[in-house]
Symmetry: C2
């Protein structure tokens, strides 16, 4: 039985659903004239940034495609492979860029309409913002499904050579479409880095020069950097995250298909290769149920509605996974349990992140208390919380990995055909768990994009001086958006961890295939593996340093500009003169793009150089240890940043008490200390952390694509 039509159908269906959502959002009321004016400024700034950014990235991508094709074609002495890899790379890069662009385009439209809807009710506002986010979510998933399917078809995945079906088509093509994943990660890295640097440089710059130096409130129209700050939410959180999750789903689809190849070769059943894409189809329908469930009934408690949608989706997905396993994988229920493990891991990450970053639990409260003795203790405490949060994160990942591997091994004994010929069904168990976890990606991305949309809606309301009740609704939604954004980061880390092992195994399969080896141990007691691993871990630290520093450098440029405007145009402060927003946006754009280049090139070139000099085993060490390090470092950066942010909010809400029960709220030293922590956390959680998610996947796709280079002796 062929399953590709299921993939094709659900991919197209997801696109149609996204268009329906987009039409729905665009048909909403656009609010007051003042709102539309701000929104136009934001739209203009965001488009200007994306235009320039995409031109830079396109240039890099084309150069990279030529070099990659040349190197692989030349060194592996296989020009055809070089050309195919280059083309796949460019298609992946294009789709990744498109995913980011569309996500941002709709988000900018949804911002304004959310602000307008907030004039009517919470219900209208939440539906508009969530649907705006969902456009991006569904497009990302459908494009990754259809893109992989297209490449599979183009490169002859359906051509079974008569007489040797197990040596053609599905057995070979997954290896030759890894370029698609690499292209996607390549663009995602630069998109996330550039957007992340832009958004936090604008944020930090606007805060330091506005709130701290000039003493004016956040999003105050007198601050020249405020539009750049609002633009940043869109280009960093929407466009960056869209590209990130596109490359995740693409890379993990391809990696799981590669693992499926070894099972196909043994069983002759293409289901093993198509299974990952079919599970994605389940995810499309489950997420759709989740999104539509949010609009049903009373919406007075928006967080609860989002949770209900999440649970509705999880249940549908669980049932779907069982059904697909039953139909495709020989009724082997052990694999369904592996898939369920992945799904539950996703749920676990949602709760871990809430514990570490929401105000109701120990970490945020402890951090707020530490702010009473000043910024130093706030920083020490926040950093300690971030480090601590790696503990439960790692344990959950270890359990999920161990358990799904165990289920896979059990599955192997249930379907005896799997136990033959060097096949490892345990490994496929971890792949199924990864697929299980990623079924929810469309819904999670919708919730994530919901965050910056509501944040921007708040900014538009503030900037256009909308009435207090409108501002109140956007504030409530903004608070929820902060939580959903944090959740997505936890989810991205967790899925990256599960996928890491799968992509690593795919790399080993690739090396084995190319070198005709039956086994390829990556032995840590081999000195080159050790050195490769050590250098891989170092990459994570160095990359984080560059990403964090980039924000500092770019923020410096903005601070100078806003200071200059205040100094040369005293009318701005008195409210008689309008600041030159466009110039601030332009300077931020330049600085952001300039600063993204160094960390971006480091991330791309470093693994290639190490792999080329120290060869395939060292590259495997680099990939593996670097991935472990990236997961934990991203956890530290995301969670410490989130905790600092929410400790500040906790204090601003008047929930911190001093000696004798006095409230230590805004304007106190404790609040000032918490603002320092929040500022430190900005580049951690919104630039370095999310870029590390992409970097981890990039390491996998780079090593997969460049493997021919590493084994040339």
């Amino acid at each position: 039985m062929e399953f590709w039509p299921v993939v094709l159908f659900s991919g197209i269906f997801a696109i149609l659903f996204a268009f329906w959502l987009a039409r729905d959002v665009l048909s909403q009321d656009k609010g007051t004239k003042a709102m539309q004016e701000v929104a136009a400024l934001i739209f203009e700034g965001a488009m200007a940034f994306l235009n320039r950014q995409y031109r830079t990235i396109a240039l890099f991508a084309i150069i990279a495609a030529v070099i990659i094709g040349g190197l692989i074609g030349g060194l592996a002495n296989d020009p055809g492979l070089g050309v195919r890899t280059s083309i796949a790379f460019l298609v992946g890069a294009f789709c990744s860029g498109l995913a980011g662009f569309i996500g941002m385009f709709i988000a900018v439209q949804a911002n304004l309409r959310t602000a307008a809807a907030a004039q009517r009710s919470v219900r209208d506002a939440i539906i508009v913002s969530l649907r705006g986010g969902a456009v991006s979510g569904f497009l990302v998933v459908s494009m990754s499904m259809l893109g992989v399917l297209l490449m599979f078809w183009l490169y002859g995945g359906f051509n079974l050579v008569p007489g040797q079906p197990l040596l053609s088509g599905p057995a070979l093509v997954p290896f030759s479409i890894v370029g698609f994943g690499f292209g996607a990660s390549f663009v995602a890295l630069f998109a996330q880095l550039g957007g992340g640097i832009y958004t936090k440089a604008a944020d930090v710059g606007a805060d330091l020069v506005g709130k701290v130096e000039a003493g004016i409130p956040e999003d105050d129209p007198r601050n020249a950097a405020v539009i750049a700050d609002l633009v940043g939410d869109n280009v960093g959180d929407c466009a960056g995250r869209g590209a990130d999750l596109f490359e995740s789903t693409a890379a993990e689809n391809i990696g799981a298909m590669i693992l499926g190849v070894s099972l196909y070769v043994v069983t002759g059943n293409t289901s093993w290769v198509f299974f990952p894409l079919v599970v994605r189809s389940i995810g499309v329908f489950a997420s759709m149920v989740g999104i539509l469930a949010v609009g049903v009934g009373d919406v007075s408690d928006p967080q609860r509605k989002l949770d209900q949608g999440y649970w509705a989706m999880t249940i549908v997905a669980a049932i779907g996974i069982f059904a697909v396993v039953w139909i495709m994988l020989d009724q082997n229920y052990w694999f369904a349990l592996a898939g369920l493990t992945g799904l539950l891991t996703s749920v676990a990450f949602v709760y871990i992140t809430q514990y570490y970053t929401a105000g109701g639990w120990r970490p945020v409260q402890e951090l707020a208390r530490a702010s009473r003795t000043g910024p130093a203790t706030n920083i020490i405490s926040g950093f300690a919380v971030g480090l601590e949060s790696t503990g439960v994160t790692a344990v959950i990942i270890a359990i999920a990995l161990g358990l799904s591997y165990f289920f896979g091994v059990q599955a192997g004994s249930l379907t005896p055909a799997l136990a033959t010929g060097g096949v490892n069904p345990g490994l496929f168990g971890t792949a199924v768990a990864t697929m299980g976890m990623l079924t929810t990606v469309a819904y999670v991305l919708s919730m994530d994009t919901f965050g910056p949309i509501t944040d921007n809606a708040g900014g538009i309301a503030e900037f256009s001086q909308a009435p207090a009740d409108v501002r109140h609704i956007t504030d409530v939604l903004d608070g929820i958006g902060n939580t959903t954004k944090a959740l997505t980061k936890g989810y991205a880390v967790g899925s990256a961890a599960l996928a890491a092992f799968l992509l690593f195994s795919a790399y080993l399969d690739e090396v084995k295939l190319r070198e005709n080896l039956t086994s390829f141990p990556v032995d840590l007691s081999n000195v080159t593996v050790f050195i490769g691993g050590f250098l891989g871990l170092m990459l994570i630290f160095l990359f984080s340093s560059l990403a964090i520093r980039a924000v500092g450098n770019a923020a410096g440029a903005i601070i100078e500009e806003v200071r200059r405007q205040f100094r040369e145009h005293p009318g701005i402060m008195e409210g008689t003169e309008r600041p030159d927003y466009a110039r601030a946006v332009d300077i931020t754009t330049r600085a952001g793009l300039h600063e993204m280049i160094l960390p971006g090139l480091l991330a791309v070139l470093y693994p290639i150089v190490v792999g080329f000099v120290l060869k395939a085993e060292a590259a495997a060490g680099l990939l593996m240890v670097g991935t472990m390090g990236g997961i934990l470092m991203a956890t530290v950066l995301n969670n410490s940043g989130g905790t600092w942010d929410n400790a500040k909010k906790f204090i601003e809400l008047g929930m911190l008490k001093g000696d004798g029960g006095t409230v230590l709220g805004k304007g106190t030293d404790a609040h000032a200390a918490s603002v320092v922590g929040d500022t430190v956390g900005d580049p951690f959680k919104d630039t370095a952390g999310p870029s590390l998610h992409v970097l981890i996947k990039l390491l996998s796709t780079i090593t997969l694509v460049m493997a021919p280079l590493f084994i040339t002796r």
Copy 2:
């Protein structure tokens, strides 16, 4: 030819030299009555802390010895092995404790005499303080040499069973004395943790409540925590570091001897086993030359004198290594090159650390400039510098490891006997490099202890209101002491990294021996190895979190107490009443000891539990990836802390310029921002970082000793 008499002789000689130095220090002038009073307070506080701390540690050590002996004896079904391991553990623990105790005892005496000598000249002050530090340096080295030799003799290392010399004595005993190394690391961990928490809690507490809240200068007698702060320098930096370097040298001696066993078995020459101890003897003499060289000639530039001593020692050590290789290792000059690689690595680390933490280079200056925009940018920039410093650190380590391995392989082809029977001469090359690096340990430890001695001498001078010129001399020496302390940390990280691979290989040899395996691959594509590695890396993050948080908790207790004294005794602030120093010391002691327990137990129990549950391969993954992570994390913590500290000093020296060239010195916002960074860096660089050095070695010794437990199926 037997080489053990060389070891015995030089061990005894080093002890005699240490006694001579101690007598010299103790015979010096004890200064004014006021100085002696303060010193007596410090002495009393330090002894009170050590007494309590050692009682706690002794209790833990005895419990641990019983459990370890029982587990190994019972599970491996070899009661003799259990008893031998327990005894070796206790002897190692005792020696480690003694090393810390003596180091601190002499340091406390040297503090006072340095302050007194500063009344006369820089020359006298530097000689007293350096010799005080050297007592500890030489005792540590001699005790580790003699201790290992003693255990080797006691456990029958010299008994060659007639007819089968290659299956007895030297071929087996190194494995059974690993308990000595474990005992040493066990005590060192608690000593470094307890001391590190004490010293930084007192420091942070004294600063926050004195400098920040009450606005009085550092080391002001009105601050009740000031004596605790001075005590802290001794118990943290002197006692802790002494125990740390004792366990390093002991563990690395044993590890290198274990690697030598496989070469002994092939060649029948015991030189391979004794080589590590003989190289230590070279180190004793080389360090002696270095120490004595500092006293010769003009001492107007103390930093230059210390550097001259360092270079004198390095040259003697290099010649000595060549000589020893020539005599012991069959004139195989390739091994001498490996040793030289280690020695040069040590030099490289000295310069890297200087670059990252001294005021003359980019990092400190950049950080000082970042302080102009407030504490948030100071923290961001300092953290970025710490992360960045892992780059060159990792590259140097990778080159040293790769190069010494290469030299070892070359050595193997020069001495054909080495190429037989599964022996890996490349590995022995890395062991020789480690030994080469560690030849300098006595001198480095002397320089390190010099730091807290001069720091305390400054405190005594300030507290006893000595004249300004005395204070000036101690200030100059204190500044140099900060640099030498930072250098030691770089050195400790570098040697830990080189040793890691050696100790890891020793573990694999141990497992192979016990399981009768010819190979034991630690394959990262094996899911349990991956999980073990991931959990190992997580341990580093979690342990750092607990260590950092412990300082915060303990500091809180001190702050409360000093505030209470100010509140209840207004006379203190007016200078009419003396604060209750003893009570502050007592509270710090309690808090420090209480807080050391959780991270300490985590470090000890976690690897045992993981190894027991997931077995030997996972333990190997944990050891290896945990070590990589520990090295890099310690680098981040040490260097960011050092840079923050020196950026503050840079500003205090008036070297930071604002807009238009105005000096931004003490009392400016930039200075306040830099103080925040310095406080954040305190627990990083003096608690968590140094404890990580010990943790890395502890992981090795634990897995070595507990190996029988991990392979019971």
